[in-house]
Symmetry: C2
């Protein structure tokens, strides 16, 4: 704790991180010599993702990078600077923080590794940095972090080569204590994750989940918050922020270090304090936070909140092109706390008129589809009555991705049917070629459909949505 | 039950399915008019996958397909036929079975849907087919199935367009009661699943898991068996076959219908009998079968047995390029019944000489890699002592797929280190582009490495291997 800023005495004076997420002018400290340089990487990513503000590379040994003039230090920059991203060797960091203070910069991200997570000397250095920041009124994210991302203004502070074409824009806010659960390591572009803000807290010497929650709970761009947590600094403040946030939008948490060995590993990763998993689970539940079970759920479950309405109950309809998946989806639904909907007699009649065998839940379209000229018309004809059925609160559709390859217009039709019903629907696509699945996933997502590549996650997402919806009613 | 052949009185006269899996001559009954025809699909797939035997399309209204002469009925074929694949309208099936009987065919796969799973009339028709088969000494797989696959001779009876380039050859035998868990619905080619045999039992009017187990437990091409089961017909015989099989090779089972609603769904999918999940779980465990939890595990867990040796214990080393994943892998290992290995002092010394921070488990390579010219050399230097450490039984490696994009030769080096150690290793690759991951996965697999795209599954696979290994020692 000594290496961290103390929580302010009345921390529920809510925090505002907009100086970090909405800067007009950013200074980037780090090597720009070649493509391996951290400063080079940050500037490249900001330019590629279309950062709307101004960038000042700061480096004493190079004059320019990507056509941007580089400055040896801040004192040579005339303009006022809002945010500094610092990735330079640890011993040089304190002096740069002083330099920032002299120029009135109040927001600094320290990307550099080798602080509290690296042993005693690093912890001592981190304490030194924190002391300067505290004395000079500077707020810090990090150290040991890739920093933040804002899809709204193209701000990204990640120094690594990412490879994806653009920052997907959307309404999910992700926070983490690791580059692994950030824009540095996951295929956000290929999988079309709809993102509003991201933050990797790293060692959390100052800013942590509490202030991030404060910020994103009122962020109009954000509809759902997904957090990866290895440890919290101030449990009381954290739970208080969670309680406030869940009144406004769903909050999901992946708690890493849920075994004794895992807690030890977390402590050596980011210097996180041990946190008893049982106590944590209980407290989070009381605060209304929904716990997810693994890193894939951390990424995927929020999709349902981003594009779909909340269900009014927990009765699910399962519409599938393959009977085997229907059985597995039923199991998954029960285990996610959902109930298999019993259709009204009106719906049963309409389904029976299409085909005697369709009038049950799960609805196995397979046998009917194989005898039809246009397999997609049966999907329309079945979905329409099922989704407006008063006994149905949500639905999962299990569909072969190849169908969209053969019938590109089918996505639009599917979207219309789902939109008309105004009930949450998730779509699981399967198939024999990954390229078909990826292409279809992106297209479905672009129509605002919640598409999944894992059947259990597609179903569990609806269970989580029902759970959140239910908690609001209480 | 009335629609099925009765189990023979002494069924432990072991069954031999080689007439199904190793035919020299196959007759295909079904429409060959155009690419939507079932017969057309079967013939196309067999030709594309290089079936080594002879194919006779049987169809009264067309003369040829893909340059193969088609015959109006079997009586016009001079050659003796080993196997018939039948996908024609249900009412026509009994007569074709009689035709097969007249020509001495003993093995028939009935692909057609619309039998016992479709209601009373279908059940009656199925009974009729079974009666003929019983009387004439014909064995049946199906109805309502895509049938079988043998990677060794290119035999595939699936009528659907698959899209993947070839049948991956290998040593996993998969069985299922659904096209969804078969070669018709999963990206076997893109994901390079190493397959020996596959069988979809469909309605199981005759041949079921018991005979499949009998066959593959002694199949020299098969090292591991993965089964999807909705219900079993003769529990005693099934468990007996399981007990015999697990003495020879690992048997995994995904039991669908593990909730009451799921059981009802299974019954309407393949007419499976209800099976109490608790009773089933207990019996399978006693028989030594390892239960997997979802369809992804059904596909993925067997990989570890296919390419890796069995671990001698349950102590895992975790070597990761990202600390966050190290913590999550630790949690996953504990939950999979593994222990986090404590390295010998010799290993600790060697790791400390590389870098003070590397000498703990999980080993976070990240901070060391970022300061090195060639990040892969540290992976070599760390893996070599860790894998030969006497306190280490297995290892998971967490690696960014982009590394292989930058250093294609690294895969060969990694393979050499793993092979030298002769301990099971799984590799989890992550990254920001799917194409990198897919390419790297296939290359790693081609070198005989067990590669995973899901961290938890990569770790759980080692836990399952340790569990199986342990059961052999008892």
């Amino acid at each position: 704790m000594s290496a961290n800023l103390k929580p302010s005495e009345n921390r529920r004076k809510r925090s505002d991180l907009s100086p970090f997420f909405e800067p007009d002018v950013v200074a980037v400290f780090g090597s720009i010599k070649d493509s391996a340089g951290a400063g080079y990487g940050v500037v490249r990513n900001m330019l590629e993702f279309g950062f709307r503000g101004k960038i000042y590379p700061i480096n004493p040994s190079c004059d320019e990078v990507f056509g941007l003039k580089a400055y040896p230090d801040l004192d040579k920059v005339a303009e006022s600077i809002d945010l500094a991203m610092v990735i330079i060797p640890p011993p040089a960091v304190p002096e740069v923080i002083e330099q920032c203070a002299r120029r009135g910069i109040k927001s600094v991200i320290i990307g550099t590794e080798g602080f509290a997570e690296a042993g005693e000397a690093g912890a001592e250095l981190q304490k030194q940095v924190v002391d300067i920041a505290h004395r000079r009124g500077i707020r810090i994210i990090g150290p040991n972090t890739i920093g933040i991302l804002n899809s709204g203004n193209g701000l990204i502070t990640n120094p690594y080569f990412i490879g994806y074409d653009n920052v997907p824009k959307g309404s999910i806010a992700y926070s983490s204590q690791s580059g692994f659960l950030s824009n540095a390591a996951h295929h956000l572009g290929d999988s079309a994750y709809p993102i509003s803000k991201m933050c990797d807290f790293g060692n959390k010497c100052d800013i942590d989940e509490v202030e991030f929650l404060d910020f994103v709970m009122d962020d109009p761009e954000t509809k759902v918050i997904s957090m990866h947590v290895e440890g919290v600094r101030d449990g009381r403040a954290f739970l208080e922020a969670c309680r406030e946030a869940v009144k406004k939008k769903p909050v999901l948490a992946l708690k890493a270090g849920n075994s004794e060995a895992g807690i030890r590993a977390a402590s050596s990763h980011t210097g996180s304090l041990a946190m008893d998993d049982q106590v944590y689970a209980c407290a989070l539940k009381q605060a209304g936070v929904i716990r997810v079970d693994d890193w894939e759920e951390y990424w995927e479950i929020p999709r349902v909140f981003s594009s779909q309405t909340l269900p009014r109950g927990k009765r699910i309809a399962i519409v599938t092109m393959t009977g085997g998946a229907g059985v597995l989806a039923t199991d998954a639904a029960v285990s996610a706390g959902l109930e298999i909907a019993s259709f009204t007699s009106l719906t049963v009649d309409r389904l029976e008129r299409l085909n005697q065998r369709l009038a049950k839940n799960p609805i196995d379209l397979g046998p009917t589809m194989v005898v039809m000229e246009s397999p997609f018309s049966i999907l329309d004809e079945v979905l329409t009555p099922v989704l407006i059925d008063a006994n149905v609160d949500c639905a999962v559709i299990v569909i072969n991705g190849y169908m969209f390859e053969e019938n590109p217009s089918a996505i639009d039709r599917l979207h219309q049917v789902v939109q008309h019903a105004a009930k949450p629907v998730t779509i699981f696509i399967y198939g024999t070629r990954m390229c078909w699945l990826e292409e279809a996933s992106r297209k479905l997502a672009s129509f605002g459909l919640a598409v999944y590549r894992n059947l259990n996650t597609a179903v569990k997402a609806l269970g989580v949505a029902a759970q959140y919806s239910d908690s609001l009613g209480e």
